[in-house]
Each structure stands twice: as structure tokens, then as C-alpha cells.
């Protein structure tokens, strides 16, 4: 009876699209990553783990791209989460025009990443960029740097720009979490004589845990897949200093080294399937709780 009212053919269109453009390429990629598939020859031969040996060899640039990706993920996750919590606490109450402030902080997260990248290419320009001009004008000229060119700063500059863009989104999730905490907890804590830090430590942060967990997961998934920010700000340079997984995949794609490119995606796939498992568990748990 149910199958008649809710027929399976309702699902077929979506499932077909998802299988064709998402799942099948994923599975093909797994298989191709053990081959020498490239743009120069028609033949595709099985070469075992050679592609993975290249990726994990210290002489090539893949491994530094991998570690850059991990560093980017860890750094943006920590920065966005910590600043997101601080901003959310600040913009939770007691500020005039609070919705205006929230709206402004959230705004960069809806802009195309490519646009944010172009804006900061101008701001971080060593000669005319607003940041160095500003530092010079307020007498902190010694802090002015070649932000996107200097090896020591280029990658951290990308991390800073990405944090600027993504922070508002994380803050918004935390704010929603803050607003779901019942005021009665704070009232009884006040009666017991708790101060601000005490309330933060024993009420706010523990009850924010579900929201924080989700933001951490979102940030990790986003960080591992980062491409646009790096591509537009430095395109992996200077040299290979700011290369990440997806920019290396794109370069291999351009060079026609498809086998290595798919092997890189496979490495990412393995990392993400582990994280993905926890994400789904998390979402299902919440569904049960609601």
C-alpha cells in the first residue's frame, strides 16, 4: 500500500543524478588512482601503488600540499571557532543595533570566495595595499609585510582571509545555540552567586557543545576541500609554498597527469569518508533527539 502512495519512481531522478555525477566519478577515481592514466596516451595501465608513492614521497611537492591542507584545516577551524564564540557572546545581547552588527559580520560568508580573494589581493598588496598603508600611517610601518609574496607569511595570510570570510557563518550557528539556552539556568546560577566567568564555564560552554561540534565538523570538511581562496590569492606560490590538495589536483589535471590527480582525490576520499561517517552519526543523533 505504502509503495503505491509513495512510489519509488519519485526517487529515481535525484538518485540517478547523484549516482551519475557524484558516486560513479568517485568510484572510477578509486580505480583510476592505481593506473598511469594520462592525456598523452590512449592506453591506461595498472601500476599498483606508484601514484601513492609519488604523493607520499618527500622529494615531490604533494606531501607539502597535504600538510598545508591539514595546517589550513586546523588553523581555520581553531580561529573560526574561538573567534566565533567570542563574537557570538559579544553580539548576543547588550549592544545597540545588534541585528545590524550581526548582519555585517555574516555578510562576507555569502560573497563568492573568488570575489573575497580579489578584494584581499588588493588589500594585501605590499605597495598600494590598504593594510600596509594603514600600518605605515599609524606608525607601525615595521609590521608591514609582503603578505602574499613572502614565504613566511603567504600561507598564513590565506588563512587570515579565509577566517575573515567564514567567521560570520560560524558565529551565527553559535548564536543560535546561545539563544536555545534557557535563561532559567542563569537565573538560578545568579542566586547561587556565580560570576560571569563561572556562568560561562559551567553553563554556557557545556550547553553550546552540540553547536560547537557541528561548527568544528563543518570547518574540517570545508578546510580539507579548500581551493578557491588559495587559487585566487597565490595560486600555490611562491614556488609551491602555499599549495593545497585541490590546487595540486588542478595542476595535475592541467598537465594531463590524471592518474596522480585521481590518486590525490582518493587520499582525500579516505580521510573524508572517516570524517563523513561521524558527520552522519551526528546528524542522525540530533534527529532522534528532536
Amino acid at each position: 500500500m505504502k509503495n503505491k502512495i509513495y512510489p519509488f519512481y519519485f526517487v529515481i531522478g535525484t538518485l540517478g543524478l547523484y549516482l551519475l555525477l557524484f558516486v560513479i566519478p568517485g568510484i572510477m577515481g578509486l580505480l583510476y588512482s592505481f593506473t598511469d592514466w594520462n592525456s598523452y596516451s590512449e592506453e591506461v595501465n595498472y601500476i599498483g601503488l606508484d601514484n601513492f608513492k609519488i604523493i607520499f614521497s618527500p622529494d615531490e611537492h604533494y606531501f607539502s600540499a597535504l600538510s598545508n591542507t591539514v595546517w589550513f584545516t586546523v588553523a581555520t577551524t581553531v580561529l573560526k571557532t574561538v573567534l566565533g564564540i567570542v563574537f557570538a557572546l559579544l553580539l548576543n545581547r547588550g549592544v545597540f543595533n545588534i541585528n545590524l552588527h550581526r548582519g555585517i559580520v555574516f555578510m562576507p560568508s555569502i560573497l563568492p570566495t573568488i570575489i573575497v580573494g580579489l578584494i584581499f589581493k588588493s588589500i594585501l598588496n605590499p605597495e598600494i595595499g590598504l593594510l600596509n598603508v594603514f600600518l605605515n600611517r599609524i606608525g607601525l610601518g615595521f609590521l608591514a609585510q609582503q603578505w602574499l609574496v613572502d614565504l613566511r607569511f603567504a600561507f598564513n595570510s590565506i588563512i587570515a582571509v579565509d577566517t575573515w570570510k567564514g567567521l560570520g557563518y560560524i558565529m551565527t550557528i553559535i548564536l543560535a545555540g546561545l539563544q536555545s539556552i534557557s535563561p532559567s539556568y542563569y537565573e538560578s546560577a545568579e542566586i547561587d552567586g556565580a560570576n560571569y566567568l563561572g556562568k560561562l564555564r559551567y553553563i554556557t560552554l557545556p550547553l553550546l557543545r552540540p553547536a560547537i561540534t557541528v561548527t568544528v565538523v563543518l570547518n574540517i570538511l570545508y578546510g580539507l576541500k579548500v581551493f578557491d581562496s588559495v587559487y585566487v590569492l597565490t595560486n600555490g606560490g611562491p614556488g609551491y609554498a602555499t599549495e593545497v590538495l585541490y590546487t595540486m589536483v588542478f595542476k595535475d589535471f592541467g598537465l594531463g597527469r590524471y592518474g596522480v590527480g585521481t590518486a590525490m582525490s582518493t587520499v582525500m576520499f579516505v580521510i573524508m569518508i572517516i570524517i563523513g561517517y561521524f558527520v552522519v552519526r551526528l546528524l542522525q543523533r540530533e534527529e532522534v533527539e528532536v
Partner: protein
Amino acid sequence: MGGKNTFLTIVKNIVAWIISLVMLVPLLLILINSLKDKHQASSMGMDLPKSVHFENYLTVIVQGKLLRSFCNSMFYAGTAIIIALILTSMAAYVLSRNKTKLNKFIYFFIILGLAMPVNYVSLMKVMQITHLINTRIGIALLYAALQVPVSVFLIYGFIGTVPVELDEAGIIDGCGPIRLYFSIVMPLLKPVLVTVSILTFMDAWNQFIFPLYYLNSATKWPMTLAVYNFFGQFFKEWNLVCADIILTSLPVLIIYLLGQKYIISGMTAGSVKG
């Protein structure tokens, strides 16, 4: 005690304004410079334009062929929205209402895609085999496929709140499955369908990587790729680049201002309990 509170309020407000300024200044910088002449914009400062040059926008639209890429972006976003609204909502409805073992597995399998990376290299092969590579419809289908997990997740969650009794009433009145869905259930999904449409629009508009991989002819480029390419050609004329940046951002900014409530509810859905 009162004095301390007033002091705290003042500090909080000042800090809030500093934060907002840090977020706003980069955007203002672009707006101001988009109105300057080439010479004044070359220093990309916060000084106000000596004379206002609205014609920069016209120059960009003509030289950057923005009308064409605007139409492309609209086509990609529009097609992805239509597919999400019709196909994805139908799927989410059946998966939510008829929880057989197979359907539960399919739902799990689809939302796993929220975390999965795209394999761009082997996707190229699939695009070649299906003759979707370098076609507008191919890109639109990619955008739609990319949105499948999040759309199914959001709509599925919402359908749980629509009472099943309505379906039963519809069946008693003699509706077939298609009429039941499109004339009784779907209208009740309006809030979540608005959210899904807006999120799909934003993601499609901001997409950069798919067209970068799979579109080699400039005539099919969306606005993101066009602005990036324009920057490559005109990087010495920041006034024009800024005008292009503003025009590319304008549609998402307008949607954001109109649909803020839906965007925030969609982007935070499932992330916070309740």
C-alpha cells in the same frame, strides 16, 4: 554597580563597531574605488573619489561582456533550482514518508554526500562520455547534483513536520501519487522550498571550480569566472575591476537582504538542536 555596567556597555558597543568596521572596510574600499578614474584608483586607497565615474560600470558591462555571463549564471542557478524544487523534493518526500529498508539506506547514502569530496579528474571522464563537458546544461546539472545532499537533508527534515493525515485525506478523495504530492503536500513545503531555492542560488552563483574545470569557451562562463579573467586582463585598472566585483556580488547581496531569515535558517539547520 550601575557605573560598572554602563562602562561595560560602552566598551561592548565600541568593540562591536570595531569588528563591524573590519568586516565593512574591505567592501567599502571596493565600492569607493569602483567610482574613481583609472589614475586615482591605481593607489586603491580609502580616499573619496575626486570625481564620480559611474561610467566605469558601463565600461565593465561592455568590455567584460557581463550581460552574457550574467545570463549564464542565471541559467545555471535557475536550472539547479528547478531540479532541486521538483526532483529533489519528490525524492525527499518519498524517502521520508515510506521508510523501507532500501529507502533508509538511500537516504543515508545521499546525505553521506554532504561530506564527500568531488573527484574532478574522473568526473571529467564522465562528462566526456555523457557529452556534457563544455555545455551549459552539463554545468547546470553539476550544480544541481552538488546540491542534492543538502537539499534532500533539509526537505526530508521538514516533511517530518507535515501531518500524514493530509496524505490519507487526499487518498480518500481519490488522488494519485503525483496529484497528492503536487497539489496537497508540496504547497505545505513552501518555507523549506524557499530556503532550498535561496541556498541553491547562492551556491550556484558563487561556484567557481566546476566551470574552471569543464568550460573552456568564454561564451559559457558564469560571472565568477568572468570576473577572475577580467582581473587577469585589466589588473592595472582597479576602478574597472572593482566595478566588476560589485556587479558580480550584487545579486547575492540583494538575495541576502531579501531572504536573510531563510538563509540563516537554512545554513544553520541541523546544526543546532531544535
